[in-house]
Symmetry: D2
Subunit: 163 residues, 4 copies
């Protein structure tokens, strides 16, 4: 039976310390619920930190890899999906997640937020990038949620399920 | 020999009258240079208007279609590329264009601007959406250019070639 | 840590009774080893039977879906990857599997065998389609293995690991 | 208005001299009709020879490239579509062609023939690989045509248009 899959997206090489700490907490909180964590699967930034959080309590991780270069794959991925699609794989990240959390902002993340909203997927922004929040709110109010810390992300997701 | 290909991206159903007028002018100016116009190939919004401009003076148009539903394809496409990739095709729009012009702002366009900048492609924003301009400028200065009207887009592209 | 993923490919609507029985046994044998079963995720044919076998003993199943039409998705998929890539997703099936088993022959399966061999992936043919066997053997000897029943597939896979 | 697009598929590095001669003739015959030639765009084998034939009389060529490595791109491509999809791009070759000609047989070509037939696209096999012909005929009779030399391919295509 289909498991609940939460996608955590965010910068790779450009992730801040705060993004990485948030990602670790998110990964852990997601795994605590018995949900599957989905990321871009690479061994850097938000992807790596979120998976480290999930694996710290033995959660299940899916990584949607852009290419066949396995030296860039995180060893924390349980189920690697090797797409060889380059950045076109961003659309798969989004479509395969029940809910998308953007943990920090980078160019790849922006493409994922936009593709998610275009597909009417629920997106939770966890960032203090005020301009990003204002910008996406100017494009759509529907499906867009703002959180200030990882526990608030969990609360928002649980509220979805209650309705 | 490889032709110069200019991609004009922009909203479909959500395009404003101004976006469409700009797109028409852009398509015409691109065709006047003997360049190929590349769009998302559908028969609405900026895609349709840009191709109408190009075809008004017999330019060559390439449309990168998201699906196999040919009723949504513009009759102004000379060379349709049927990807059946959904929105993942946005990455192909960007990679196949020498220069990307974002004519107006929508969720799909945002994904294309972000993917283009991530791939170090030159992007010219032709929009009065101030927040969009500020937002993308906050993410990167490199490869990002701002124009206020179609002729200015042409001037920017020609300046690239002179350097 | 990366799990071992075995891809079972085969006809959907066109699967024979024998293909489906083989697929069920394969799915069960794969799950018994603690390996993950990967299929095309739809609720018909070899995909559905293989997943039924795996789930009969509580194995883990990944389905790489071609589109967003969830009415065609099998309820036996634990982790659906929604690609929206149409048949282009066949390449992902192949790249994401450590070993590919072709259980029966159909046009989609032929594309997957060919893509797998082109990517130097090990492919095991479980079919009595003599012409298919001869044809693929005429194209390459490397990476191509022939089995006559599901237990033989397992034996071949285990032999790989011993070398 | 949509141009007629004929896809010529065939081996790259593994093309025989005969395949290449046939491809050259095919490219020329296609261009003589004013049709667009579509290939995989690389500078080897059947792709390169077909484009050389088309360009010998100034035909228009579209190349659907698998990756961003432009050193592998043929200089005979007029309109390169940079997919960065790896072999998943084979499905785009097929969907974007009105008719597919398989000129010789290789693993990539086999995937394209199979994907084309699965999509109910007309496929013309130009090869003396008897086993390949028999194999595909065993899978489907519909949409599959056999030619022995390039002029016969043209005749078959023209017969389609007459009906």
């Amino acid at each position: 039976m289909k498991k609940i899959i939460i996608g955590v997206m965010g910068p790779g090489e450009g992730a801040t310390k705060k993004d990485q700490n948030n990602a670790y907490q998110l990964g852990k909180l997601i795994a605590q619920q018995g949900w599957v964590l989905l990321t871009g699967g690479r061994n850097v930034g938000v992807m790596q930190s979120a998976m480290a959080g999930a694996k710290s309590i033995n959660g299940l991780t899916v990584g949607i890899l852009p290419d066949q270069d396995l030296t860039k794959m995180s060893s924390l991925v349980d189920i690697p999906i090797i797409t060889d699609l380059g950045n076109a794989r961003n659309n798969l990240n989004v479509l395969s997640s029940d809910i998308i959390v953007a943990c920090g902002i980078g160019l790849g993340t922006v493409s994922e937020i936009a593709l998610a909203l275009k597909n009417s997927k629920k997106v939770i922004l966890l960032t203090d990038h005020e301009l990003a929040i204002k910008f996406f709110q100017s494009l759509t109010k529907a499906h867009l949620f703002i959180a200030n810390f990882p526990e608030e992300v969990l609360k928002i997701i649980k509220d979805f399920n209650d309705h």
